[in-house]
């Protein structure tokens, strides 16, 4: 099994609906990174979480790292077509600087009008 599991693998929501994407690690997370990728393009950095219980927001996207530091959730409020894309979580499960990140396989989000 993967060290870092994302769920769901894909998601179709209607515009205006809320949604949540989860990222679960089999190891302790020293840093958890959320990225967004549009097809054929590079990754765009969204947020980084380090402390258990930490929560960060950027526009209508909120990410949280749970207290036990083995799971993170990404929540989008009132989804818009601009939110469509692939959301990837990356994790530092080694510590010491975050040079060796492990990534999940991504969650593909489609937003229907």
């Amino acid at each position: 099994s993967q060290e870092l599991e994302q769920s769901p693998q894909s998601l179709i929501v209607q515009e205006g609906k809320n949604l949540t994407i989860n990222c679960t690690s089999s190891k302790t997370l020293y840093g958890l990174y959320w990225y967004k990728q549009k097809y054929g393009e590079g990754l765009i950095f969204l947020m980084m979480l380090q402390k258990g219980g930490e929560e960060k927001s950027h526009e209508k996207i909120t990410a949280k790292l749970d207290e036990k530091k083995q799971q993170s959730s990404l929540h989008i409020t009132a989804s818009q077509p601009s939110h469509a894309g692939i959301y990837l979580c990356g994790a530092d499960t080694i510590g010491g600087g975050g040079n060796k990140l492990t990534f999940g396989t991504g969650t593909q989000l489609k937003v229907e009008l």
């Binding site: 054929g40 990754l43 765009i44 990140l101």
Partner: protein
């Protein structure tokens, strides 16, 4: 925009030929990374550099070598390309000044026939 360019952006090559991909950054960041992205595997770290002439292996380093003779350039070489190295290759940078976020380039799509 983190000032990262990758060249070439697309390349088709034959099995057994050498290939070099270039990552160039304009902001003197200390850390640079090479990843490959494949369906079902997500992003996987190939090699990274923590300074000029300082490099370390990642998860999938076999068949790849890297060089960093100056701060701004990080080269990835496939000495003898194989079909299993067909992939999208991403370069990333990290400033290292108390910052852990990695910022990604636009990617290079490599096809080995």
């Amino acid at each position: 925009d983190a000032g990262i360019t990758q060249s070439p952006r697309h390349k088709v090559t034959e099995t057994g030929t050498p290939v070099t991909l270039r990552c160039h950054q304009t902001e003197n960041h200390r850390y640079m990374y090479w990843y490959r992205q494949d369906p079902g595997h997500g992003l996987r770290l190939i090699h990274y550099s923590y300074g000029v002439k300082d490099t370390d292996k990642g998860e999938v380093s076999d068949g790849y070598s890297v060089s960093r003779s100056k701060t701004e350039d990080f080269l990835l070489t496939l000495e003898s390309a194989t079909s299993s190295q067909t992939s999208v290759y991403f370069c990333a940078i990290r400033s290292g000044l108390g910052s852990y976020e990695q910022y990604f380039g636009p990617g290079t799509r490599l096809t080995v026939t």
